[in-house]
Protein backbone atom coordinates (compact mmCIF):
# COMPACT_ATOMS: atom_id res chain seq x y z
CA UNK A 1 0.00 0.00 0.00
CA UNK A 2 3.02 2.28 -0.22
CA UNK A 3 4.30 4.78 -2.76
CA UNK A 4 7.88 4.68 -3.96
CA UNK A 5 8.66 7.64 -1.67
CA UNK A 6 7.35 5.80 1.41
CA UNK A 7 9.17 2.62 0.44
CA UNK A 8 12.55 4.28 -0.03
CA UNK A 9 12.27 6.15 3.27
CA UNK A 10 11.14 2.99 5.11
CA UNK A 11 14.04 0.99 3.71
CA UNK A 12 16.59 3.61 4.74
CA UNK A 13 15.08 3.98 8.20
CA UNK A 14 15.08 0.22 8.79
CA UNK A 15 11.29 0.10 8.96
CA UNK A 16 8.72 -2.22 7.41
CA UNK A 17 6.58 0.71 6.44
CA UNK A 18 6.77 4.51 6.55
CA UNK A 19 3.45 6.25 7.16
CA UNK A 20 2.87 9.77 5.80
CA UNK A 21 3.22 12.37 8.54
CA UNK A 22 5.52 10.22 10.64
CA UNK A 23 9.08 11.43 11.30
CA UNK A 24 11.82 8.91 10.51
CA UNK A 25 15.58 8.97 10.84
CA UNK A 26 17.09 7.56 7.67
CA UNK A 27 20.54 6.62 6.34
CA UNK A 28 21.84 8.81 3.55
CA UNK A 29 23.36 7.15 0.46
CA UNK A 30 24.91 10.26 -1.01
CA UNK A 31 25.15 13.98 -0.21
CA UNK A 32 26.29 16.81 -2.44
CA UNK A 33 26.82 20.53 -2.02
CA UNK A 34 27.34 23.42 -4.39
CA UNK A 35 29.98 25.91 -3.23
CA UNK A 36 27.44 28.50 -2.12
CA UNK A 37 26.10 26.20 0.58
CA UNK A 38 29.07 23.85 1.15
CA UNK A 39 31.18 26.10 3.36
CA UNK A 40 28.19 26.78 5.64
CA UNK A 41 27.45 23.04 5.83
CA UNK A 42 30.98 22.23 6.91
CA UNK A 43 30.93 25.05 9.46
CA UNK A 44 27.72 23.50 10.81
CA UNK A 45 29.33 20.05 10.98
CA UNK A 46 32.37 21.43 12.83
CA UNK A 47 30.02 23.25 15.23
CA UNK A 48 28.46 19.86 15.99
CA UNK A 49 31.92 18.76 17.18
CA UNK A 50 32.29 16.41 14.22
CA UNK A 51 35.61 16.61 12.43
CA UNK A 52 35.27 14.23 9.49
CA UNK A 53 32.49 13.37 7.07
CA UNK A 54 30.78 10.02 7.63
CA UNK A 55 32.10 8.58 4.37
CA UNK A 56 34.37 10.49 1.96
CA UNK A 57 33.05 8.36 -0.92
CA UNK A 58 29.48 9.51 -0.30
CA UNK A 59 30.00 13.26 -0.06
CA UNK A 60 30.95 15.67 -2.80
CA UNK A 61 31.27 19.41 -3.46
CA UNK A 62 30.65 21.07 -6.82
CA UNK A 63 31.62 24.56 -7.94
CA UNK A 64 28.81 25.26 -10.36
CA UNK A 65 26.70 28.27 -9.42
CA UNK A 66 29.39 30.83 -10.12
CA UNK A 67 32.04 29.38 -12.37
CA UNK A 68 34.68 30.59 -13.00
CA UNK A 69 34.85 32.98 -10.03
CA UNK A 70 33.66 36.47 -10.88
CA UNK A 71 34.99 38.40 -7.90
CA UNK A 72 37.31 38.06 -4.92
CA UNK A 73 34.58 36.98 -2.50
CA UNK A 74 33.49 33.99 -4.54
CA UNK A 75 37.08 33.18 -5.50
CA UNK A 76 37.76 32.95 -1.76
CA UNK A 77 34.73 30.70 -1.30
CA UNK A 78 35.94 28.41 -4.10
CA UNK A 79 39.36 28.30 -2.48
CA UNK A 80 37.82 27.29 0.84
CA UNK A 81 35.81 24.53 -0.88
CA UNK A 82 38.91 23.13 -2.57
CA UNK A 83 40.72 23.11 0.76
CA UNK A 84 37.83 21.39 2.53
CA UNK A 85 37.62 18.70 -0.18
CA UNK A 86 41.33 17.95 0.22
CA UNK A 87 41.32 17.99 3.96
CA UNK A 88 38.24 15.76 4.10
CA UNK A 89 39.74 13.43 1.51
CA UNK A 90 36.55 13.52 -0.56
CA UNK A 91 36.74 10.91 -3.28
CA UNK A 92 35.22 13.25 -5.83
CA UNK A 93 35.31 17.02 -6.17
CA UNK A 94 33.92 18.91 -9.14
CA UNK A 95 35.74 22.12 -9.93
CA UNK A 96 34.62 24.98 -12.18
CA UNK A 97 35.16 22.87 -15.30
CA UNK A 98 32.34 20.46 -14.46
CA UNK A 99 28.94 22.05 -15.17
CA UNK A 100 25.67 22.27 -13.22
CA UNK A 101 25.48 20.02 -10.15
CA UNK A 102 22.22 18.34 -11.18
CA UNK A 103 23.75 17.28 -14.47
CA UNK A 104 27.10 16.21 -13.04
CA UNK A 105 25.59 13.98 -10.35
CA UNK A 106 23.83 11.55 -12.74
CA UNK A 107 26.49 11.73 -15.44
CA UNK A 108 29.06 10.60 -12.92
CA UNK A 109 27.02 7.72 -11.59
CA UNK A 110 26.17 9.12 -8.16
CA UNK A 111 22.43 8.52 -8.50
CA UNK A 112 20.65 5.17 -8.86
CA UNK A 113 17.14 3.79 -8.39
CA UNK A 114 15.98 3.21 -4.83
CA UNK A 115 18.57 5.47 -3.23
CA UNK A 116 18.14 8.27 -0.69
CA UNK A 117 20.16 11.33 -1.61
CA UNK A 118 20.27 14.83 -0.20
CA UNK A 119 21.71 17.94 -1.81
CA UNK A 120 22.23 21.41 -0.40
CA UNK A 121 20.29 22.85 -3.31
CA UNK A 122 16.54 23.02 -3.68
CA UNK A 123 16.53 21.42 -7.13
CA UNK A 124 17.98 18.18 -5.79
CA UNK A 125 14.51 16.78 -6.54
CA UNK A 126 15.76 16.52 -10.18
CA UNK A 127 17.29 13.11 -9.45
CA UNK A 128 13.96 11.51 -8.69
CA UNK A 129 13.90 11.06 -12.47
CA UNK A 130 15.99 7.94 -11.79
CA UNK A 131 13.51 6.38 -9.35
CA UNK A 132 15.30 7.70 -6.28
CA UNK A 133 14.17 9.80 -3.31
CA UNK A 134 16.27 12.92 -3.52
CA UNK A 135 15.57 16.18 -1.75
CA UNK A 136 17.08 19.60 -1.14
CA UNK A 137 18.11 20.64 2.35
CA UNK A 138 19.75 23.62 4.01
CA UNK A 139 23.26 23.87 5.35
CA UNK A 140 22.68 22.89 8.97
CA UNK A 141 20.75 19.78 7.89
CA UNK A 142 23.59 19.10 5.48
CA UNK A 143 26.11 19.47 8.31
CA UNK A 144 24.21 16.76 10.19
CA UNK A 145 23.87 14.55 7.09
CA UNK A 146 27.57 14.62 6.12
CA UNK A 147 28.70 14.37 9.73
CA UNK A 148 26.50 11.49 10.82
CA UNK A 149 25.26 9.86 7.60
CA UNK A 150 21.71 10.29 8.87
CA UNK A 151 18.92 12.81 8.73
CA UNK A 152 15.32 13.08 9.87
CA UNK A 153 12.49 13.23 7.37
CA UNK A 154 8.78 13.71 7.66
CA UNK A 155 7.33 10.98 5.44
CA UNK A 156 5.45 12.83 2.69
CA UNK A 157 2.09 12.16 1.18
CA UNK A 158 2.29 11.69 -2.58
CA UNK A 159 0.47 13.58 -5.34
CA UNK A 160 0.19 11.70 -8.61
CA UNK A 161 0.65 13.59 -11.86
CA UNK A 162 -1.01 11.37 -14.44
CA UNK A 163 -0.09 12.38 -17.99
CA UNK A 164 -1.48 10.39 -20.91
CA UNK A 165 -0.93 10.63 -24.64
CA UNK A 166 1.96 11.56 -26.93
CA UNK A 167 3.06 15.19 -26.89
CA UNK A 168 2.64 17.07 -30.18
CA UNK A 169 5.54 18.37 -32.21
CA UNK A 170 7.52 21.04 -30.31
CA UNK A 171 5.65 20.43 -27.08
CA UNK A 172 8.12 19.34 -24.42
CA UNK A 173 8.26 17.98 -20.89
CA UNK A 174 8.73 21.56 -19.68
CA UNK A 175 5.22 22.29 -20.92
CA UNK A 176 3.92 19.33 -18.94
CA UNK A 177 5.46 20.51 -15.68
CA UNK A 178 4.44 24.15 -16.22
CA UNK A 179 0.90 22.94 -16.76
CA UNK A 180 1.12 20.88 -13.56
CA UNK A 181 2.39 24.00 -11.72
CA UNK A 182 -0.59 25.94 -12.99
CA UNK A 183 -2.97 23.25 -11.77
CA UNK A 184 -1.30 22.79 -8.38
CA UNK A 185 -0.19 26.35 -7.56
CA UNK A 186 3.18 27.39 -6.12
CA UNK A 187 2.38 25.81 -2.75
CA UNK A 188 0.08 23.05 -3.98
CA UNK A 189 2.49 20.24 -3.14
CA UNK A 190 4.10 21.59 0.03
CA UNK A 191 5.59 18.71 1.99
CA UNK A 192 4.41 16.20 -0.63
CA UNK A 193 6.23 13.99 -3.09
CA UNK A 194 5.15 14.19 -6.72
CA UNK A 195 4.96 11.00 -8.72
CA UNK A 196 4.91 11.31 -12.51
CA UNK A 197 2.97 8.49 -14.18
CA UNK A 198 1.33 7.64 -17.46
CA UNK A 199 2.19 7.05 -21.09
CA UNK A 200 3.43 10.61 -21.68
CA UNK A 201 6.11 10.02 -19.05
CA UNK A 202 7.07 6.52 -20.26
CA UNK A 203 7.63 7.95 -23.73
CA UNK A 204 9.92 10.67 -22.40
CA UNK A 205 13.71 10.54 -22.49
CA UNK A 206 15.65 10.57 -19.23
CA UNK A 207 16.54 14.22 -19.81
CA UNK A 208 12.87 15.15 -20.25
CA UNK A 209 12.00 13.35 -17.01
CA UNK A 210 14.75 15.28 -15.23
CA UNK A 211 13.04 18.51 -16.34
CA UNK A 212 9.79 17.33 -14.73
CA UNK A 213 11.33 16.29 -11.44
CA UNK A 214 13.54 19.40 -11.38
CA UNK A 215 10.50 21.61 -10.97
CA UNK A 216 8.77 19.61 -8.21
CA UNK A 217 10.15 22.16 -5.73
CA UNK A 218 8.45 24.99 -7.62
CA UNK A 219 5.12 23.69 -6.34
CA UNK A 220 6.59 23.14 -2.88
CA UNK A 221 7.32 19.44 -3.44
CA UNK A 222 9.83 17.58 -1.34
CA UNK A 223 10.63 15.15 -4.14
CA UNK A 224 9.60 14.45 -7.73
CA UNK A 225 9.82 10.84 -8.81
CA UNK A 226 9.49 8.78 -12.01
CA UNK A 227 9.37 4.99 -11.97
CA UNK A 228 12.65 3.51 -13.22
CA UNK A 229 12.49 1.60 -16.52
CA UNK A 230 14.75 0.32 -19.29
CA UNK A 231 15.66 3.88 -20.31
CA UNK A 232 16.79 4.57 -16.76
CA UNK A 233 18.91 1.43 -16.58
CA UNK A 234 20.44 2.12 -19.97
CA UNK A 235 21.43 5.67 -19.00
CA UNK A 236 23.02 4.46 -15.78
CA UNK A 237 24.90 1.57 -17.38
CA UNK A 238 28.63 2.12 -17.15
CA UNK A 239 28.09 5.11 -14.85
CA UNK A 240 26.87 3.58 -11.59
CA UNK A 241 29.47 1.31 -10.02
CA UNK A 242 27.43 -0.27 -7.21
CA UNK A 243 24.58 -2.75 -7.33
CA UNK A 244 21.10 -1.37 -6.80
CA UNK A 245 17.56 -2.60 -6.39
CA UNK A 246 14.83 -0.58 -8.11
CA UNK A 247 11.75 0.24 -6.04
CA UNK A 248 8.25 0.85 -7.40
CA UNK A 249 5.01 2.16 -5.95
CA UNK A 250 2.52 -0.54 -5.01
CA UNK A 251 -0.56 -0.89 -7.21
CA UNK A 252 -2.77 -0.06 -4.24
CA UNK A 253 -0.62 2.82 -2.99
CA UNK A 254 -2.58 5.72 -1.52
CA UNK A 255 -2.26 9.17 -3.10
CA UNK A 256 -3.26 12.52 -1.67
CA UNK A 257 -4.66 13.45 -5.03
CA UNK A 258 -4.21 13.04 -8.77
CA UNK A 259 -3.59 15.81 -11.27
CA UNK A 260 -4.43 14.84 -14.83
CA UNK A 261 -2.66 16.12 -17.90
CA UNK A 262 -3.85 15.52 -21.43
CA UNK A 263 -0.48 15.11 -23.15
CA UNK A 264 -1.93 14.85 -26.61
CA UNK A 265 -3.71 18.19 -26.55
CA UNK A 266 -1.23 20.11 -24.42
CA UNK A 267 -0.09 23.42 -25.92
CA UNK A 268 3.29 25.01 -25.24
CA UNK A 269 3.09 26.81 -21.87
CA UNK A 270 4.72 29.97 -20.53
CA UNK A 271 5.10 30.98 -16.86
CA UNK A 272 4.66 34.75 -16.66
CA UNK A 273 6.25 37.16 -14.18
CA UNK A 274 6.72 36.87 -11.25
CA UNK A 275 5.44 33.43 -10.25
CA UNK A 276 6.04 29.93 -11.53
CA UNK A 277 2.34 29.11 -11.33
CA UNK A 278 1.30 32.15 -13.37
CA UNK A 279 1.14 29.90 -16.42
CA UNK A 280 -0.59 30.65 -19.71
CA UNK A 281 -0.71 28.86 -23.06
CA UNK A 282 1.87 30.38 -25.40
CA UNK A 283 -0.91 31.64 -27.66
CA UNK A 284 -2.09 33.97 -24.87
CA UNK A 285 1.27 35.72 -24.51
CA UNK A 286 2.54 35.48 -28.10
CA UNK A 287 3.81 38.86 -29.28
CA UNK A 288 5.26 39.91 -25.90
CA UNK A 289 8.56 41.72 -26.58
CA UNK A 290 11.71 40.16 -25.09
CA UNK A 291 15.29 41.38 -24.72
CA UNK A 292 17.08 38.21 -23.70
CA UNK A 293 16.68 34.47 -24.17
CA UNK A 294 18.45 32.00 -21.91
CA UNK A 295 18.72 28.37 -22.95
CA UNK A 296 20.38 26.34 -20.22
CA UNK A 297 20.24 25.49 -16.48
CA UNK A 298 19.55 22.25 -14.64
CA UNK A 299 16.03 22.36 -16.06
CA UNK A 300 16.77 22.60 -19.77
CA UNK A 301 20.49 22.62 -20.55
CA UNK A 302 20.77 19.09 -21.89
CA UNK A 303 21.60 17.80 -25.37
CA UNK A 304 17.99 17.36 -26.47
CA UNK A 305 17.24 20.93 -25.33
CA UNK A 306 20.08 22.38 -27.35
CA UNK A 307 19.10 20.12 -30.25
CA UNK A 308 15.57 21.46 -30.44
CA UNK A 309 16.90 25.02 -30.28
CA UNK A 310 19.36 24.29 -33.08
CA UNK A 311 16.62 22.67 -35.18
CA UNK A 312 14.72 25.95 -35.01
CA UNK A 313 17.67 28.33 -35.36
CA UNK A 314 19.83 26.52 -37.90
CA UNK A 315 20.35 28.61 -41.01
CA UNK A 316 18.40 31.50 -39.48
CA UNK A 317 19.41 34.67 -37.64
CA UNK A 318 18.08 35.68 -34.24
CA UNK A 319 16.25 39.00 -34.04
CA UNK A 320 18.49 42.07 -33.80
CA UNK A 321 16.59 43.13 -30.69
CA UNK A 322 17.40 39.98 -28.73
CA UNK A 323 20.49 38.43 -27.22
CA UNK A 324 20.53 34.67 -26.81
CA UNK A 325 22.69 33.08 -24.14
CA UNK A 326 23.11 29.34 -24.36
CA UNK A 327 24.80 27.33 -21.63
CA UNK A 328 25.16 23.55 -21.95
CA UNK A 329 24.64 21.91 -18.56
CA UNK A 330 27.91 19.95 -18.61
CA UNK A 331 31.05 19.33 -20.66
CA UNK A 332 29.54 15.98 -21.73
CA UNK A 333 26.55 17.87 -23.14
CA UNK A 334 28.77 20.55 -24.67
CA UNK A 335 31.00 18.05 -26.43
CA UNK A 336 28.11 16.00 -27.75
CA UNK A 337 26.41 19.18 -29.00
CA UNK A 338 29.62 20.24 -30.65
CA UNK A 339 29.97 16.89 -32.38
CA UNK A 340 26.39 17.08 -33.62
CA UNK A 341 26.99 20.53 -35.14
CA UNK A 342 24.57 22.14 -32.66
CA UNK A 343 27.08 24.60 -31.25
CA UNK A 344 27.98 25.89 -34.72
CA UNK A 345 24.31 26.19 -35.69
CA UNK A 346 23.53 28.20 -32.54
CA UNK A 347 26.56 30.48 -32.91
CA UNK A 348 25.88 31.06 -36.60
CA UNK A 349 22.37 32.12 -35.66
CA UNK A 350 23.89 34.68 -33.27
CA UNK A 351 23.78 32.97 -29.86
CA UNK A 352 26.44 33.47 -27.18
CA UNK A 353 27.81 30.18 -25.83
CA UNK A 354 28.82 30.11 -22.16
CA UNK A 355 30.79 27.50 -20.27
CA UNK A 356 28.82 24.78 -18.45
CA UNK A 357 27.60 26.30 -15.16
CA UNK A 358 24.42 27.72 -13.64
CA UNK A 359 25.07 30.77 -15.81
CA UNK A 360 22.17 33.21 -16.23
CA UNK A 361 19.69 31.16 -14.16
CA UNK A 362 20.04 32.80 -10.75
CA UNK A 363 21.40 36.25 -11.39
CA UNK A 364 24.70 35.80 -9.59
CA UNK A 365 26.92 35.17 -12.56
CA UNK A 366 26.45 36.83 -15.94
CA UNK A 367 23.61 37.73 -18.25
CA UNK A 368 22.13 40.10 -15.64
CA UNK A 369 18.96 41.95 -16.65
CA UNK A 370 18.66 45.74 -16.52
CA UNK A 371 15.57 47.46 -15.08
CA UNK A 372 12.63 47.15 -17.44
CA UNK A 373 14.15 44.32 -19.49
CA UNK A 374 12.28 41.14 -20.32
CA UNK A 375 13.81 37.70 -20.44
CA UNK A 376 12.48 34.39 -21.70
CA UNK A 377 14.34 31.69 -19.84
CA UNK A 378 14.32 27.90 -19.94
CA UNK A 379 15.25 27.76 -16.24
CA UNK A 380 12.86 27.04 -13.40
CA UNK A 381 12.28 30.20 -11.37
CA UNK A 382 10.97 33.63 -12.33
CA UNK A 383 10.80 35.38 -8.97
CA UNK A 384 11.16 39.14 -9.11
CA UNK A 385 14.87 39.93 -9.20
CA UNK A 386 15.93 36.36 -9.96
CA UNK A 387 18.03 37.28 -13.00
CA UNK A 388 19.13 40.77 -12.06
CA UNK A 389 17.06 43.92 -11.57
CA UNK A 390 13.93 43.66 -9.43
CA UNK A 391 12.32 45.75 -12.13
CA UNK A 392 13.04 43.15 -14.83
CA UNK A 393 10.54 40.51 -16.01
CA UNK A 394 11.30 36.82 -16.41
CA UNK A 395 9.11 34.45 -18.41
CA UNK A 396 9.78 30.70 -18.36
CA UNK A 397 9.31 28.31 -21.28
CA UNK A 398 10.63 25.25 -23.04
CA UNK A 399 13.74 25.49 -25.23
CA UNK A 400 11.53 25.18 -28.32
CA UNK A 401 9.47 28.23 -27.35
CA UNK A 402 12.65 30.08 -26.32
CA UNK A 403 14.37 29.43 -29.66
CA UNK A 404 11.29 30.31 -31.74
CA UNK A 405 10.93 33.53 -29.75
CA UNK A 406 14.60 34.38 -30.34
CA UNK A 407 13.92 34.48 -34.07
CA UNK A 408 11.30 37.19 -33.80
CA UNK A 409 12.19 39.07 -30.62
CA UNK A 410 8.71 38.39 -29.26
CA UNK A 411 7.24 35.36 -27.53
CA UNK A 412 6.40 32.98 -30.36
CA UNK A 413 4.52 29.70 -30.63
CA UNK A 414 7.19 27.13 -31.59
CA UNK A 415 4.65 25.13 -33.59
CA UNK A 416 4.53 28.00 -36.08
CA UNK A 417 8.19 28.02 -37.04
Amino acid sequence: MSTIAQKILAKHAGLEEAIPGEIVKADIDFAFMPALTAALAFHAMYDMDIKKVFDPKKVTILLDHIAPATNITNATLHKECREIAKEQNLETFYDINSGVCHQIIPENGHVYPGMLMVGADSHTCTHGAFGAFTTGIGSTDMGAAIGTGKLWFKVPETIKIQAEGSLSRRVMSKDVILNAAKQLGADGATYCALEFRGSTISEMSIGARMTLCNMAIEVGGKAGICMPDQKTFKFLEGRVKNEYTPVYSDKDAVYKKTVEIDGMHLEPQVACPHAVDNVKPVTDVAGTKINQVFIGSCTNGRLEDLQVAADILEGEKISKDVRVITTPASPEVYKAANKAGIITALMDAGAVLCNPSCSVCFGGNHGILAPGEVSLSTSNRNFRGRQGSTEAFVYLSSPATAAASALYGVITDPREV
Binding site: I23, L40, M48, H65, T73, I137, K150, K154, R384
Partner: protein, 162 residues
Protein backbone atom coordinates in the same frame (compact mmCIF):
# COMPACT_ATOMS: atom_id res chain seq x y z
CA UNK B 1 10.20 36.93 22.79
CA UNK B 2 8.70 40.34 22.34
CA UNK B 3 9.05 42.88 19.58
CA UNK B 4 7.48 44.84 16.82
CA UNK B 5 5.74 43.17 13.89
CA UNK B 6 6.89 43.67 10.30
CA UNK B 7 4.29 42.36 7.93
CA UNK B 8 4.83 41.12 4.37
CA UNK B 9 2.43 39.33 2.03
CA UNK B 10 2.01 35.88 0.52
CA UNK B 11 4.79 34.01 -1.30
CA UNK B 12 7.75 35.79 0.28
CA UNK B 13 10.50 33.88 -1.50
CA UNK B 14 14.12 33.29 -0.58
CA UNK B 15 15.32 35.74 -3.24
CA UNK B 16 13.31 38.44 -1.42
CA UNK B 17 14.66 37.38 1.98
CA UNK B 18 18.23 37.22 0.75
CA UNK B 19 19.01 37.98 -2.91
CA UNK B 20 21.28 35.50 -4.74
CA UNK B 21 24.12 37.99 -5.07
CA UNK B 22 24.83 37.72 -1.34
CA UNK B 23 25.11 33.92 -1.30
CA UNK B 24 28.86 34.13 -1.47
CA UNK B 25 28.94 35.69 2.02
CA UNK B 26 29.67 33.24 4.83
CA UNK B 27 29.79 35.52 7.91
CA UNK B 28 26.28 35.45 9.44
CA UNK B 29 26.59 39.05 10.62
CA UNK B 30 27.36 40.20 7.09
CA UNK B 31 24.47 38.10 5.74
CA UNK B 32 22.19 39.72 8.33
CA UNK B 33 22.93 43.14 6.86
CA UNK B 34 20.97 42.20 3.73
CA UNK B 35 17.84 40.66 5.28
CA UNK B 36 14.68 41.25 3.22
CA UNK B 37 16.64 43.38 0.78
CA UNK B 38 14.90 41.81 -2.24
CA UNK B 39 11.55 43.19 -1.15
CA UNK B 40 12.25 45.91 1.42
CA UNK B 41 15.72 47.46 1.26
CA UNK B 42 14.88 49.65 4.27
CA UNK B 43 14.19 46.64 6.55
CA UNK B 44 17.66 46.35 8.07
CA UNK B 45 17.62 50.02 9.02
CA UNK B 46 14.40 49.72 10.98
CA UNK B 47 14.35 46.21 12.52
CA UNK B 48 15.18 45.98 16.24
CA UNK B 49 16.36 42.90 18.15
CA UNK B 50 13.34 40.80 19.13
CA UNK B 51 11.14 41.95 16.26
CA UNK B 52 8.91 39.45 14.49
CA UNK B 53 8.21 38.92 10.79
CA UNK B 54 4.61 38.25 9.81
CA UNK B 55 3.93 36.51 6.50
CA UNK B 56 0.99 35.17 4.56
CA UNK B 57 0.93 31.88 2.69
CA UNK B 58 3.98 29.90 1.55
CA UNK B 59 6.61 31.96 3.35
CA UNK B 60 10.17 31.10 2.32
CA UNK B 61 9.48 29.39 -0.99
CA UNK B 62 12.32 28.93 -3.41
CA UNK B 63 15.88 27.96 -2.82
CA UNK B 64 17.39 25.82 -0.08
CA UNK B 65 19.64 28.70 0.95
CA UNK B 66 19.96 28.70 4.71
CA UNK B 67 21.32 32.19 4.24
CA UNK B 68 17.65 33.29 4.15
CA UNK B 69 16.77 32.39 7.77
CA UNK B 70 20.35 33.26 8.78
CA UNK B 71 19.80 36.77 7.41
CA UNK B 72 16.58 37.13 9.41
CA UNK B 73 18.09 35.77 12.60
CA UNK B 74 21.18 37.97 12.45
CA UNK B 75 19.18 41.05 11.55
CA UNK B 76 17.58 40.65 14.98
CA UNK B 77 14.36 38.86 14.09
CA UNK B 78 13.26 36.53 16.91
CA UNK B 79 10.50 34.59 15.14
CA UNK B 80 8.67 34.31 11.84
CA UNK B 81 4.92 33.82 12.03
CA UNK B 82 3.10 33.00 8.81
CA UNK B 83 -0.04 31.30 7.56
CA UNK B 84 2.05 28.57 5.97
CA UNK B 85 5.70 27.90 5.18
CA UNK B 86 7.67 26.33 2.36
CA UNK B 87 9.24 23.11 3.57
CA UNK B 88 12.96 23.82 3.32
CA UNK B 89 12.70 27.27 4.90
CA UNK B 90 10.69 25.82 7.78
CA UNK B 91 13.33 23.20 8.54
CA UNK B 92 16.23 25.59 8.07
CA UNK B 93 14.73 28.11 10.47
CA UNK B 94 14.13 25.50 13.19
CA UNK B 95 17.63 24.11 12.67
CA UNK B 96 19.02 27.58 13.40
CA UNK B 97 16.85 27.89 16.49
CA UNK B 98 14.67 30.52 14.82
CA UNK B 99 11.01 29.64 15.48
CA UNK B 100 8.84 29.47 12.34
CA UNK B 101 5.28 29.39 13.61
CA UNK B 102 2.20 28.57 11.58
CA UNK B 103 -0.81 30.64 12.51
CA UNK B 104 -3.95 30.72 10.35
CA UNK B 105 -5.14 34.25 9.50
CA UNK B 106 -2.14 35.85 11.15
CA UNK B 107 -1.77 38.34 8.31
CA UNK B 108 -5.28 39.56 9.02
CA UNK B 109 -4.84 39.66 12.79
CA UNK B 110 -1.50 41.46 13.00
CA UNK B 111 -0.31 44.62 11.26
CA UNK B 112 3.06 46.26 10.95
CA UNK B 113 3.93 48.12 14.12
CA UNK B 114 1.90 45.91 16.48
CA UNK B 115 3.70 44.63 19.54
CA UNK B 116 3.92 40.87 19.40
CA UNK B 117 4.81 38.56 22.24
CA UNK B 118 5.43 34.88 21.50
CA UNK B 119 5.06 32.27 24.19
CA UNK B 120 6.31 29.12 22.52
CA UNK B 121 5.60 26.83 25.42
CA UNK B 122 2.02 28.00 25.81
CA UNK B 123 1.51 28.00 22.03
CA UNK B 124 0.30 31.58 22.14
CA UNK B 125 0.91 34.89 20.47
CA UNK B 126 -0.18 38.04 22.31
CA UNK B 127 -0.82 41.11 20.18
CA UNK B 128 -0.54 44.60 21.71
CA UNK B 129 -0.84 43.07 25.18
CA UNK B 130 -4.49 42.11 24.65
CA UNK B 131 -5.47 39.89 21.71
CA UNK B 132 -4.38 36.25 21.92
CA UNK B 133 -3.73 34.05 18.89
CA UNK B 134 -2.89 30.38 18.87
CA UNK B 135 -0.34 28.88 16.54
CA UNK B 136 -0.27 25.33 15.18
CA UNK B 137 1.64 23.23 17.74
CA UNK B 138 5.28 22.64 16.84
CA UNK B 139 5.90 18.88 16.36
CA UNK B 140 7.63 17.47 19.47
CA UNK B 141 10.82 16.58 17.62
CA UNK B 142 11.17 20.11 16.25
CA UNK B 143 10.39 21.49 19.67
CA UNK B 144 13.37 19.57 21.05
CA UNK B 145 15.55 21.12 18.36
CA UNK B 146 14.25 24.62 19.12
CA UNK B 147 14.72 24.10 22.85
CA UNK B 148 18.31 23.01 22.29
CA UNK B 149 18.84 26.27 20.38
CA UNK B 150 19.06 24.60 16.98
CA UNK B 151 20.22 21.39 15.32
CA UNK B 152 23.92 22.00 15.99
CA UNK B 153 23.40 22.10 19.73
CA UNK B 154 20.85 19.30 19.55
CA UNK B 155 23.29 16.94 17.85
CA UNK B 156 26.09 17.90 20.20
CA UNK B 157 23.88 17.02 23.16
CA UNK B 158 22.22 13.95 21.63
CA UNK B 159 24.93 12.40 19.46
CA UNK B 160 24.40 8.97 21.03
CA UNK B 161 20.72 8.70 20.18
CA UNK B 162 20.87 10.49 16.80
Amino acid sequence: MKGKAWKYGDDINTDFILPGIYLELTDPKEIGKHAMEGIDPSFVGKVQPGDVIIGGRNFGLGSSREQAPIALKYSGVSAVIAESFARIFYRNAANLGLPALECPNVSKEIKTGDTVEVDIEAGKIIVNGEKELEFVPVPPFMMEILEAGGLREYIKQNRAKW
